[in-house]
């Protein structure tokens, strides 16, 4: 009997919290509607994915390799990102470039999102600022593991 009473009490408390949020937000929205500015604003639900919020510039999203002016990747395949990566998720294969000013380019640059922890160490380690995590692409899902191995060598 006492147990049933406790369950009922928790149910009422839960409903009260929901009701409080409703009325508080309602109050702020109503005040705003009448042009009264308050410090706090009513909560707004964003209809993701139809509506998308702007990401912070510091946000770590999918990696990209910046291109050179001529379209080649600016990465020089120095493997410092591979060295620093704590989750061992980068696979880089270097190739020779005929241009003696470039010399070294990535033939393959694959990031394995199965393993990536989005720490951004690769961005910090890069000596030529080639890799960045600013694509804003956050919808990184795939039905297969292989689908999460993203090639970045074609900028």
């Amino acid at each position: 009997m006492i147990k049933a009473w406790r369950v009922l009490r928790e149910l009422v408390r839960g409903a009260a919290i929901t009701a409080r949020h409703f009325f508080v937000n309602m109050t702020f929205h109503t005040l705003r509607l009448f042009g009264i500015r308050t410090r706090r604003r009513g909560a707004v639900t964003i209809q993701y994915p139809e509506v998308q919020k702007a990401l912070s510039p510091r946000h770590h999203s999918l990696h990209r390799i910046r291109p050179r002016p001529d379209g080649k990747p600016s990465c020089v395949a120095c493997m410092l990102c591979v060295t620093v990566c704590p989750s061992e998720c980068l696979y880089v294969e270097a190739a020779e470039d005929p241009d003696p000013e470039v010399q070294k380019l990535p033939a393959k640059f694959v990031v394995d999102l199965n393993r990536c922890c989005f720490c951004g160490f690769c961005v910090e380690a890069c000596p030529v600022d080639a890799i960045r995590m600013d694509t804003g692409e956050i919808r990184l899902a795939s039905l297969t593991r292989a689908g999460l191995e993203v090639p970045l060598d074609k900028p």
Partner: protein
């Protein structure tokens, strides 16, 4: 000290004894004091051009070069005073003044003396405001070597190596002062069997090898000592490999074979034949037991070896001497040869124990010998008299065990096929795939010498023991383990032989 008179001196407060005629740099090295240097190399003569090894010697007003100063009794050397530190820093600043600092694309990065010394003795901010000098970045100088003149510090190690060690002198110093550069003479590229050493001795990334260029970075490499199996010199080598990350998981690759110092065998150098031996470790290897020329997944060598033991047992005892034939090779280690002796000669009493090896090749006057096997002396040492089998002798056998597919180097493939057609059970124990695979009943994948431990006796009788330098594929097994397993299943005691 080779009979030379010992000389006592003081280096950084340490009382040091070194042989007469040693220079200060070597004496300090022997005492555990490292003095930075670019141009000095223990295997070459003294040049004194890099000025990096300046030290303070009591009684002399100026700093002296440690590489070109011979030690004297009672000499007091200081290598870590402020004056020396300042001098090192300034020398380094001059050397780096025109350096391109393209470490991200330089193969030497991670093992470069410029990097190391800058970290230890430099750490200054660059004062250069002028643009750096541009020079040729990619000059092929022959034998797959690429010269980068921007990175070169003009230590002339390469020039001296080719003059003193190989005597070919393909490289030279051209122009003077600021314009001086290393280069080849017109139409005479570097072409000798020791060209790979130029990459090893270059203290910076000026000479790089096409074979290693851009393949990986130096800090990923795991370096383990081994002995080169490509000729009877048995040079001491370092096998540099990567296992797993940054390669794919379960992937492994040998990237380089470099020289290891061993004054009794090869000094500081190895030849290009041994250096190219890296392909021998990775390429064309068996990765599983194969039957009838096709690999069988999931069949362990122990299980497959039970078939070999059964075939040997099916031959009655007295007939074994003539009906079972074994072909061994001189790539087996001394320990494995002792096991083979105990199993095949003493245990089974076989009369047909043969040896088939790689054909001799051209020798050179420095290290490479014509015998292209590492353990020819070890074969004699184990009590064998190596003899190449005639094909008729193999054809008459009922059970044939072949270690290594070198028999095809001596006989035509069709002749061998014809001879083996009449043998009811025949087994091959080979590291590399080859045409012999489909002529036998089963092929056992065995370890490359770099993947096993053992002892080789070289052409001069020097014994060199080595440990495993590369981890083999899971299915690959050393011949020693096969011989022990075979002896166990046949109930033959191999005594207290060192089976390791």
């Amino acid at each position: 000290m080779n009979g030379k008179k010992p000389v006592g001196l003081t280096i950084d407060g340490l009382k040091v004894q070194a042989a007469e005629g040693t220079n200060v740099l070597r004496a300090a090295e022997q005492a555990g004091v490292s003095i930075p240097h670019f141009c000095f190399h223990a295997g070459l003569d003294v040049e004194g051009s890099c000025r990096m090894c300046l030290v303070e010697i009591e009684g002399l007003p100026k700093l002296e070069l440690a590489c070109s100063t011979i030690i004297r009794e009672g000499m007091v050397v200081r290598t870590s005073t402020d004056r020396v530190g300042e001098a090192r820093k300034d020398v380094l600043e001059f050397l780096l003044a025109e350096h391109p600092l393209d470490c991200p694309i330089c193969d030497k990065a991670g093992e470069c003396r410029l990097q190391d010394y800058y970290d230890l003795y430099g750490l200054y901010a660059s004062r250069m405001i002028e643009p750096r000098e541009r020079r040729d970045k990619k000059v092929p100088i022959g034998r797959g070597l690429i010269l980068d003149r921007e990175r070169c510090v003009l230590c002339t190690r390469c020039v001296r190596f080719l003059r003193l060690v190989t005597g070919t002198g393909e490289l030279g110093m051209f122009e003077r002062s600021l314009r001086s550069e290393v280069g080849i003479y017109d139409g005479r590229p570097v072409d000798n069997n020791y060209s790979g050493n130029l990459v090893d001795i270059c203290p910076v990334g000026a000479i790089t090898a096409e074979d290693f260029r851009f393949k990986t970075r130096a800090w990923f490499l795991v370096r383990r000592p081994s002995v080169c199996p490509h000729c009877s010199r048995g040079c001491a080598v370092i096998i540099e490999s990567v296992e797993g990350y940054p390669l794919r998981r379960s992937e492994k690759r040998v990237y380089r074979v470099t020289a290891r110092e061993n004054p009794a065998v090869n000094g500081f150098w190895i030849c290009d034949v041994g250096r190219d031996g890296r392909h021998d470790i990775d390429d064309g290897r068996h990765a599983a037991v194969s039957e009838k020329g096709a690999p069988v997944q999931g069949l362990s060598w122990e299980k497959a070896l039970a078939g070999v033991a059964a075939a040997i047992r099916s031959v009655p005892g007295p007939e074994r001497a003539g009906k079972i034939a074994v072909v061994l090779n001189a790539r087996l280690t001394c320990e494995e040869l002792a096991l083979a002796k105990g199993l095949f000669v003493t245990g089974l009493g076989l009369g047909k124990v043969f040896f088939a090896d790689r054909k001799p090749g051209p020798a050179d006057s420095l290290l490479l010998t014509s015998d292209r096997v590492p353990n020819a002396k070890g074969v004699l040492d184990a009590g064998f008299t190596p003899r190449l089998p005639a094909l008729g002798e193999l054809a008459g056998a009922e059970v044939l065990l072949v270690f290594g597919s070198y028999i095809l180097e001596h006989f035509g493939e069709e002749d061998v096929a014809r001879a083996l057609a009449g043998v009811p059970s025949k087994y091959l124990f080979a590291a590399h795939t080859g045409p012999l695979d489909r002529l036998v009943d089963a092929v056992f994948p065995v370890a490359h010498p770099a993947e096993k431990s053992g002892t080789y006796i070289n052409t001069e009788g020097v014994r060199q023991s080595f440990a495993r330098a590369v981890r083999p594929c899971p299915a690959v097994v050393a011949e020693g383990a096969i011989l022990v397993c075979l002896a166990n299943s046949l109930g033959i005691s191999l005594g207290d032989a060192d089976v390791r």
